[in-house]
């Protein structure tokens, strides 16, 4: 009998954090432009002691302006999508739920397209508009997904699927009828793409948003364990079911909206990472949420590094890598458990 304790949580997260660190180091080193480990360490050192002006410009640009921000973005996006996926799987009582099933990504895409139509020259507008699109979808699906005044898993799922289809149709319509030159980039974005550097303001919003939303979901982690045994059972054990469902719905949707606004819809991460973490560390949500966050970060950084290097200098979209790499890993983990 090994219940989850704070100590166990700390050790597990510590171990995963180390893996993440190693992955980040590898990601910094690898890329279309090779940088040796010694060069990397040297420049890290220079930056650390405040002598970054001694670095050759391109090197500083590549590592600190291109790779590092991209890696950090990948960490945030991966963590957000995985926590959202874990949350939706509990909320919808469905192991196949992923962050996009409720239509949030379609709403974000529509927001981004509308922004491109209205003012194609403003850079910050796209993530902002995408997030508003996501927020509007969240509200709409919430009101559609209620039954008897509170969120009902079955109704919510249906409402989300219908909304997603409808929004996708609208997006198709717009992409076909409008001046296509502005929207060619959209196709790339829709597949999931981390290559667009984001302004610093956007990054801060991402970090804060992630901490708040993921933190809110984490406060309900113990309740989610009970919720999964049945809503009535959970209520009898003292869980405020209505409040918990609302918190998880909002938190997971906001996380998804944030991630999609900056990187498009990267697939499979939100679905597979929570399952992989369950197979490795158990289904207890008090452990699952932090491990999913770290696991998602590791997965995205790995996938993005592969996407950048496998056929360099051509870049593959991250979404393709997550699908290709994720499925075999999952099958392996599944078989290991069934043996």
């Amino acid at each position: 009998m090994r219940p989850v304790t704070l100590k166990r949580l700390a050790w597990t997260c510590g171990a995963l954090a180390l893996v993440l660190l190693a992955t980040v180091a590898a990601a910094l080193k690898l890329g279309a432009v090779p940088i040796s480990v010694s060069d990397l360490l040297l420049s890290m050192g220079r930056v650390a002691i405040g002598r970054s002006d001694r670095l050759p410009t391109e090197y500083r640009l590549i590592v600190f302006e291109l790779r590092l921000p991209r890696i950090l973005l990948g960490i945030l996006v991966g963590a957000a999508l995985s926590v959202a996926g874990a949350g939706f799987q509990a909320l919808l009582r469905n192991p196949l739920a992923d962050p996009y099933v409720l239509g949030v990504s379609s709403g974000a895409a529509l927001g981004a397209i509308l922004a491109l139509i209205a003012s194609p020259h403003l850079p910050l507008v796209t993530p902002l508009a995408a997030f508003f699109g996501a927020a509007a979808t969240i509200a709409a699906v919430y009101f559609l997904g209620r039954r008897g005044g509170q969120l009902d898993s079955g109704t919510l799922l249906l409402a989300g699927i219908v909304t997603a289809s409808f929004l996708s149709a609208v997006i198709m319509f717009l992409m076909t009828t409008l001046a296509s030159r502005d929207l060619r980039g959209m196709a790339f974005w829709l597949m999931g793409d981390l290559s667009t550097p984001q302004a610093v303001g956007v990054r801060s919003v991402l970090v804060v948003g992630f901490l708040v939303a993921a933190g809110a979901i984490y406060t309900t982690a113990a309740d989610l364990n009970l919720l999964l045994t049945g809503e009535q059972e959970a209520a009898h054990l003292g869980v405020n079911v209505t409040r918990v469902k609302l918190v998880v719905y909002l938190g997971a949707s906001v996380l998804t909206g944030l991630a999609v606004s900056v990187s498009g819809a990267i697939g499979y991460v939100g679905l597979l990472v929570p399952h992989a973490m369950r197979l490795l560390f158990g289904s207890d949500y008090r452990l699952l949420i932090p491990t999913s966050a770290l696991g998602g970060a590791i997965a995205i950084v790995l996938a993005d590094t592969l996407a950048r290097t496998v056929v360099a200098p051509t870049e593959l979209p991250v979404g393709a890598m997550t699908a290709m790499a994720g499925a075999p890993v999952f099958i392996y983990l599944l078989r290991r458990r069934l043996r």
């Binding site: 060069d39 391109e58 020259h121 409008l178 296509s180 290559s195 200098p313």
Partner: protein
């Protein structure tokens, strides 16, 4: 795949110049750009730009091109930085260019902004007509310090266009349907430089759409009954094969142009706003109005003869949004 260059090598290639002067220009997308002078290292992120730079004799200074820059053949040996939509920013930075040239049509705003944030000068060209293409070439020539060559090139291109205009004077334009892609059926919109190129060739596109690459319905084409179908392709045989396939298909086989075999095949240089566009225009004009050129046959110099175009399906895919 060109070998990736280590950042150390790149830094040796260029002496660090602390005193560089800058030229303030406004590019064709309306953006203000500070271009370091003189321009010694250029990266091109569009095939048309690569072609133009070669035509201007500036190829020595061209240090990076996209995977799709395949004309002239020498361009294939230049270091590659990825696609036009998704160039590898690291590669571009590692090459330490003075100037990066893009086109508003084929490159993304995000790429431009990202490069600017990395303190690189990015100049965008944007041509909506044949005249635009010519002035674009002139401006680019001035920018990279090839003023003389630019002047000469544009002058000769203008002369050819003038000849063309005279040859076609008084002749009614042919109504054509330009087939960019078959499935789905994509043609050209009225605002693209392609539509203008068609006009210069004595043709008029039957498609009058605002989008650059409109998807049209076959019914509409049948209703319009164009005089000619125009295909852009790398080989004449390929176009022949396409035509043979089309002839059997319902809808297509009802077209008068198909029944009477009124098809024109031109070099796919017509898709690029570069000097070879004029070649393609002349090629098309000659097929649509053969009688106008019967007498002028001897006067043609070798320079304006259409060179055998290179086969490059990648090029066509790049231009087609549907294949993204």
């Amino acid at each position: 795949m060109s070998p990736a260059r280590s950042w150390a090598q790149a830094s040796v290639a260029k002496p660090i110049a602390s005193e560089t002067s800058f030229l303030q220009v406004t590019d064709e997308a309306g953006r203000r750009v500070k271009v370091p002078q003189p321009v010694r290292r250029i990266v091109s992120l569009a095939p048309s730009v690569t072609e133009t730079l070669y035509a201007l004799g500036a190829q020595e200074r061209l240090i990076g091109v996209t995977d799709y820059c395949n004309y002239p053949p020498e361009a294939l040996t230049k270091p590659k930085v990825g696609g036009a939509i998704n160039p590898n920013l690291e590669q571009v930075v590692a090459l330490k260019p003075d100037l990066v040239v893009v086109t508003k049509t084929f490159n993304r705003l995000e790429t431009v902004e990202a490069l600017e944030r990395l303190s690189l000068a990015v100049y965008a060209t944007d041509a909506h007509s044949v005249e635009d293409v010519l002035s674009s070439i002139e401006r680019l020539a001035d920018l990279v310090g090839a003023h003389g060559q630019g002047e000469a090139l544009v002058a000769s291109l203008r002369a050819r266009l003038e000849d063309l205009r005279q040859a076609l004077a008084g002749r009614a334009p042919r109504r054509v349907f330009f087939v960019v892609w078959q499935n789905p059926l994509i043609s050209v919109g009225r605002r693209s430089f392609l539509a203008d190129a068609l006009r210069w060739a004595g043709a008029e596109s039957v498609v009058n759409a605002a989008q650059d690459w409109p998807v049209v319905s076959l019914e509409e084409v049948v209703r319009q009954e164009p005089d000619y179908l125009v295909f852009a392709g790398s080989h004449a045989d390929e176009a022949d094969r396409t035509f043979e396939e089309l002839r059997e298909l319902p809808g297509w086989r009802n077209l008068r142009a198909v029944r009477e075999r009124h098809i024109a095949v031109i070099s796919d240089a017509v898709n690029r706003p570069a000097p070879r566009l004029i070649d393609a225009v002349e090629q098309l004009a000659r097929q649509l109005h053969p009688k106008a050129f019967a007498e002028k046959h001897e006067k043609r110099s070798s320079k304006s003869e259409t060179r055998a175009p290179q086969f490059a399906t990648a090029e066509r895919k790049e231009l087609c949004p549907c294949a993204q």
